[in-house]
Amino acid sequence: MAGNVIELHGVSKTIHDHDILHDINLEVRNGEFLTLLGPSGCGKTTLLRLLSGFEEPTTGKIFIDGKDVSGLPPHLRQVHTVFQSYALFPHMTVFENIAFGLHCKKLPKNEIESRVAEVLKTVKLEKYTQRKPDQLSGGQQQRVAIARAIVNRPLVLLLDEPLSSLDYRLRKTMQLELKQLQRKLGITFIFVTHDQEEALSMSDRVVIMHEGGMEQIGTPRQVYEEPQNLTVAKFIGEVNIFDSRILAIDGKRVTVDIQGKQRIAKTTREFTVGEKVNVLVRPEDLRVLDHSEVDDTTDMFPGVVEEAIYKGTTVDLMVRLSNNKVVASTQFFDEDDDRLEYAMGEPVWISWLSGWEVVLPHEA
């Protein structure tokens, strides 16, 4: 079954005169791992509730498996949710929790038992069938919640920040397990999170949401390396933003003016000469060079090291430029520079490779 498992056409949602979602157009491909990423209050959970049927869109239509689902209550939809706090039934054992959906479908007892056993094996919980949820650890509860949903073989599995209550180490493990599980089952996952690292590492495609709208949809690489606007760039990872102006255009190469210095930048966007732009450089692309290392400083910016934070694999620097702007730079240890020692107040030059920046129309 190829194509789109879910389609949203012009979906908006207003609750008590508050615009929660506006004009969402989204196509979810069959079998993909799609992440809705955005800060809290951006409408991502509401979008999930529209899909599960707990809310109805104010305008627009939702299609699941090609069928218009408006007015269809949650228990008749072929999507299942893994809730943020798991919502396991506390009075039921692991087995009963997982079998609940199958009981609702009135399946024969032996089929229920074999399907529950199968899914318990998938999530590695065979030993815990008779435990109650509160006798399980956070990670085990998480697995029960997933098992309880996937045992029904949904078309789409909706996951509402399912990892947010786990500690860092367990979250990492579960990220990997979830991704592997999704590959194995081939079920479409729609995953909601506010954690950009989680979104990038797990998803096939990421939807960046902001204030009820979709800012960008694309692969993790696309949204990170080619953000469509400042909102996306600021939300995904850290970014240094330079106010700038277009001086000349030569095909895909533009000459920009940054703090009085001219640099060549590469872009696929259309600009006009004289237009105000923002030039974006990721901290890991920003090079910090000490005075002894450089001769030609025509396209470099002078600054002073303000803070150096040792992170184990990297050293994070805060550099104050001559115009008082502070930029962040992440330095990696490599064969050229295995010490990476910086003193506070040390004068440095900063620069980046031409083409590694992103040029966007100016936004305030």
Binding site: H75, H80, A87, F100, C104
Partner: protein
């Protein structure tokens, strides 16, 4: 810290002393009295006997019939309270606007007036030419029937059903109900498989709080049920105050206490099971 402890022991000690003098001691006296005989001259007299208890098990004795009837009336009023109270508590508990506090207040307001006075006022409502039936041409006899006793009991005890249910249902996690629906449960299944089991502690607490007083409130059957309606509470009262049979009344009291104790133990057992699993 030492000062805090002093206050702790003072506080606990006062309550202990109070309950020992005014609850434990009288209870011991009642137990003692229940094993004595009774005659016209003296309230309590020798010899020591089990007759008072044996009477309770004599099927031809009035007490057994009254026990049965009391159970029946109290059980029926408990069921009516539950059926009326549960949906009410459910909807109030899940309200999110300002009406919630107001409605809970309405449930509590009757407590501000003595229940005895409220029961008297029910006579004027229920009597044949009273406020309720005054406009009809037929004479409807509700006052001085079991129906009136039931109405009185349900009216007086309904808040004791609603309040524990309310606190229990308020703690019910909406996500669990959402999860049930999400997994394909219709409203009936969601109610029977999720909501009902999870609110069972509230149901049990409410039933006990209604059933226990319903067995023993003597003035409601007295006022609304007339002379024919004798429940356990009335029996104990009349044995002590009318026929002056203290040993007999004591035996009935103790039997009732034991019975209710057993019910409470059943409740605690069900609750402890819950807590035990929570601790693990």
């Amino acid at each position: 810290m030492k000062h805090d402890n002093g206050f702790k022991y003072f506080s606990l000690g006062t309550i202990w002393l109070w309950l020992t003098v005014f609850a434990l001691l009288p209870l011991c006296l009642v137990i003692l009295a229940s094993f004595f005989s009774h005659n016209q001259e003296q309230l309590v007299t020798a010899p020591f006997t089990f007759e008072n208890y044996l009477n309770l098990f004599n099927p031809f004795h009035l007490t057994v019939k009254i026990f049965e009837r009391s159970f029946y009336i109290a059980g029926l009023s408990t069921i009516i309270c539950l059926v009326l109270g549960y949906p009410f508590a459910f909807f109030i508990a899940r309200m999110r606007n300002g009406w919630k506090g107001f409605l809970i207040l309405l449930v509590i307001i009757p407590f501000w007036t003595s229940s005895l006075i409220r029961t008297y006022s029910m006579i004027t409502i229920l009597k044949p030419k009273g406020m309720l039936f005054g406009l009809t041409h037929h004479t409807i006899h509700i006052l001085y029937t079991d129906m009136a006793v039931l109405i009185g009991l349900v009216y007086n005890l309904l808040p004791f059903m609603i309040l524990p249910l309310l606190t229990n249902i308020e703690r019910l996690d909406q996500q669990l109900i959402d999860a049930a629906k999400d997994l394909g449960a219709n409203r009936f299944t969601t109610f029977t498989r999720i909501i009902l089991p999870l609110t069972m502690p509230g149901i049990l607490a409410g039933c006990i709080l209604v059933f226990l007083p319903a067995m023993t409130i003597f003035y409601i059957p007295d006022l609304l049920g007339g002379a024919k309606s004798i429940l356990l509470g009335n029996l104990i009262q009349s044995q002590f105050l009318v026929s002056q049979n203290w040993p007999g009344g004591s035996a009935v009291s103790i039997a009732l206490t034991l019975l209710l104790g057993v019910l409470l133990m059943i409740y605690w057992r069900s609750k402890r099971d819950d807590e035990a699993t929570e601790l693990l």
